[in-house]
Symmetry: C2
Subunit: 360 residues, 2 copies
Amino acid sequence: MKVAIVGAGQLGRMLAQAAYPLGIATEFYDKSADTPGGQVAPIVTGEFDDLAKLTALAGRADVVTFDWENVPVASLEAMRRATPVCPDPGVLAVAQDRLLEKTLFRDLGIPTPPFAPVDLRSDLAAAIRRIGRPGILKTRRFGYDGKGQARIRTARDDDRAWAALGGEPLIYEGFVDFTREVSLIAARSRRGERAYYPLTENVHEHGILASSSSPCRSPRLQAAAERHVGAILERFGYTGVLAVEFFVAKGALIANEMAPRVHNSGHWTIEGAVTSQFENHLRAILGLPLGSTAARGHAGMVNFVGRVPRLERALAEPGLHLHLYGKREARPGRKLGHATVVASTAKARDRALGRLLRLR
Amino acid sequence: MKVAIVGAGQLGRMLAQAAYPLGIATEFYDKSADTPGGQVAPIVTGEFDDLAKLTALAGRADVVTFDWENVPVASLEAMRRATPVCPDPGVLAVAQDRLLEKTLFRDLGIPTPPFAPVDLRSDLAAAIRRIGRPGILKTRRFGYDGKGQARIRTARDDDRAWAALGGEPLIYEGFVDFTREVSLIAARSRRGERAYYPLTENVHEHGILASSSSPCRSPRLQAAAERHVGAILERFGYTGVLAVEFFVAKGALIANEMAPRVHNSGHWTIEGAVTSQFENHLRAILGLPLGSTAARGHAGMVNFVGRVPRLERALAEPGLHLHLYGKREARPGRKLGHATVVASTAKARDRALGRLLRLR
């Protein structure tokens, strides 16, 4: 069996690493061969709109998936004429556009921050009148890791935010005064089998995920998150892993965004769950039985952003599981690796997580 | 950092899989590219006595290791002129010869079965007079998975055994009436740091490892095994993972054989220990801090020999971790993969192991 993976970043790399033990071959597609994925499995290089190359790759595979949200939907639609693409490109089209995404949440009865589309300067004024300040003006498309966002705290910020982002299709969202952020990683297989990991609590710094802890035990929030994410899975007859990020405000979940793929906040599942999100994504898109999503102890994960610790120093940390992505250039804000610890209690996990944070 | 691995079987494949997350590159050497290792990492093909090719490979690496016991020692000696070879080829020379191996055990005070070298038919008669029957006549070299062995139960077997094996350098060993077989996997780093995994209990079928369970809890046997294996590690200033198999007879350990490499009876460490034997081998030979060898629950491992179960069926087994080796040809007696389960109690592990055995 062969899986074609469009995009050869760290998510693809970890998918390929999960595929080898199952005897599943992978083949990547990306602009450059010396990518995290291309270092560990065969890769075809080309532009993301080269339909001839992409379609040829699809023809060699049993199923196509992607590790990157900004793959052109038209490219995946073309590949689908040759081979099933999972998750469905239609879901990706929604996830690529914050307005469609928030509208989907609302239609499914999933709480979201108040939001309004903003195309013109006058739309922004109207949105602020209705929703109020503080809020965040965001590009509808191509935002990730905090990029393409401007906060609006007071009236003085309105023009500055518009100057920074105006001209593109935008969305204005009311600011959510959250106490914490959590995410739910779910999988749905081609046969309709569903599985949910325990909720993960996430801490962001400068808009980039800094650390995750799981399980984040709250039977009430877990049930609510599964209900919300289950509604999305069923709406699309979804296939693969889906991640949804929520704010927790006044003890309730408010959906922030979804990612139709394996997700940074699920990296702890490699050592901290019986079956990793990467293996379950492969099982799901190939129509194989899903593996157990049960936690193995209490896991903590720390991202290495912009720089990685010396190998010698990192590996001296008791119980640390290191994952480097093989990126040649260490740029600020770039995710270069992560480390996970698993402890038998939440308290021991938090202590170990503190040590990992100091490694950065 | 790059590790050159001579031999690209399943052991090398799992070494390469452990190397990727640490950001360590690997390069294999074997006769064929379409090998378990060659499918997951770059490979150079050639004969095992092609010193020019082997030395060129060594020159590109920071350290050389091997995944196969029958690599010619002279080839590794040649590579060592370019780059450190770990473990030392001198240990391999001992492990390749059952007589040198048993003599080493005896010299270090490690109990062994009674043994005698057999070169001539008259040596066999003398050995049987001294040691008695039952016993096993074995080739000194190139035996594995029960190959190159003939049992001698009664006098009628003497000629048959001689006819089968006579002409090669042999060893006659007294039969050990053991109650069970165990193995100890140990690691010693270039800096002299040592670590021992919990003892593993092994079941063989037709001379091939069928299943392993760990931890096999006996503080007394664990201490004795660590003392014996520690003596071997220190004798050689050993670097890397070393496996030693023991019989347990009348409650005491009797050393059977050693393997200067990662070992089939340590495959459970991938999911069942904090750090796998593969990662610890890499850490040891690169002079990095060793990782924890503590068990995570109770692990059971089953080998798939000659055939593998259908993927669909294997993955339906709750908690099963599958490892297929990518071998194209399924020959009888050939190890094609393994599966591991980890449970919270030994009893639950034994139940799960029973289900895995029925998958074969």
